[in-house]
Symmetry: C2
Subunit: 253 residues, 2 copies
């Protein structure tokens, strides 16, 4: 497909590479900052543009991958296009795009960092179209990019987005806090890395509820008490410790 | 070395297998429940015993891998032994063992489930001995079992144990909660598994603070507000959402 990419952030960059690697053509790249459009366009043999009015009429798919609150402003400048227009946001309803005959959502459910390459074929793509025909086209495009494609409507997608905050952003914050505890004692974060990896590996095939370990699930009240004492003077950590221990107990009632 | 194993839980089972796989002999296995001692002993070509008084005098290393609050009771029954005596608990001081000439701690920093095999060579082993000579002996044993061996004293070990609760038990609970959110919408947990894996993979080489993503680190207040609204009627989830979002903001001030 002939694709125009709008945006130059982490998601746009990984998507651009995936489109190009799978036989699509990135016609043009737009970014609010021209320099960034130039950089990304160079990476995927494309042409940077400064104005959305420059989008070629031969474009077949326009991918909007900008900040959530900038999507509608971009959409309002796309009245002249005939392509399918999609955004890539987990938190945004499909209805932010309208006035087009075919539009939808292509939401890659993954955490992207520019410094960390990943296998896009393993990234779940959640697809929604404004009609059955459009959904079918988007599913076909998505399947060319990834091995795991799901049809997910806007209501379910926003729940998925909250769930991803728990499973990714909050999890990473727990890594941050554990790292801080170690650093204060001059201990190396490498000590925890195999544990972190195994904790994630375990739930790749098993249910998280069935593999819980540690003092809370054992109702080992003495260790829970000792841990809270060790965190004295760090009320934020004590609070998170207590909330999540209570949550574990509740899940295993 | 000639090893006697006291205990038959997850840690004891994985340790027994690791000792046997690396040229040590498991002389005997004791468990509070004889049937469990018999099962584990069979697995590692060993002899089950019913009473701690039956431990052979030729034993060189006795590994106590029972519940934390049962360690001292076991120790009180080992007065006749000449072996080095170690426990495997992260939360317990070395001083729970005394009256022996050589004793210490061999703490494997990993989450063990019986159903999930793992490469013990990758498990960090934290070692403490009651003397420099004993520590040296324990380091040598530990290096025969794992590629990553650290000397960690009792004060640091208990901090490590709290940090492990954050990086493993609480992380797994976040997986549980995200799974519940999906289930309520009829969505498949497979949607989140690649995200979970990538979140853990990222911090294997990078610092967690540097790879945070999502609405909280972007100070995207509208999305944070929308997420909290979506969790309406689930005060426990709202509370955890708020605490961890605040924590992310604080870490990135």
């Amino acid at each position: 497909m002939k694709v125009v990419l709008i945006g130059s952030g982490n998601v746009a960059t990984h998507l651009a590479t995936a489109f190009q690697a799978n036989g699509h053509v990135i016609l043009q790249v737009w970014s609010a900052t021209l320099k960034r459009a130039v950089d990304l366009a160079e990476k995927v043999s494309s042409e940077p543009i400064q104005h959305l009015s420059q989008i070629y009429t031969e474009a077949e798919l326009i991918v909007i991958s900008v900040k959530d609150d900038a999507i509608s402003e971009v959409v309002s400048q796309l009245e002249h296009v005939k392509a399918i227009v999609v955004h890539t946001s987990g938190a945004t309803n499909i209805s932010v795009i309208d006035g087009m005959s075919e539009y939808g959502v292509l939401y890659p459910l993954q955490t992207f960092s520019k410094d960390k390459p990943l296998d896009f074929k393993q990234v779940p793509l959640c697809v929604e179209g404004n009609s059955a025909a459009c959904t079918a086209k988007l599913v076909a495009v998505a399947k060319s990019l990834s091995n795991t494609v799901y049809e997910v409507d806007s209501v379910k997608r926003r729940i998925l987005h909250v769930a991803a905050a728990f499973a990714c952003n909050f999890v990473n914050q727990l890594y941050v806090l554990s790292n801080e505890l170690l650093e204060a004692q001059g201990l190396d974060f490498n000590l925890l890395r195999p544990l972190i990896k195994e904790t994630a590996d375990k739930v790749q095939h098993l249910q998280p509820l069935n593999v819980q370990t540690g003092p809370a699930v054992r109702h080992d009240e003495q260790t829970l008490k000792n841990h809270l004492e060790l965190l004295q003077g760090q009320p934020e950590l004590q609070h998170i410790y207590q909330s999540l221990s209570d949550s574990i107990k509740k899940s295993h009632q």
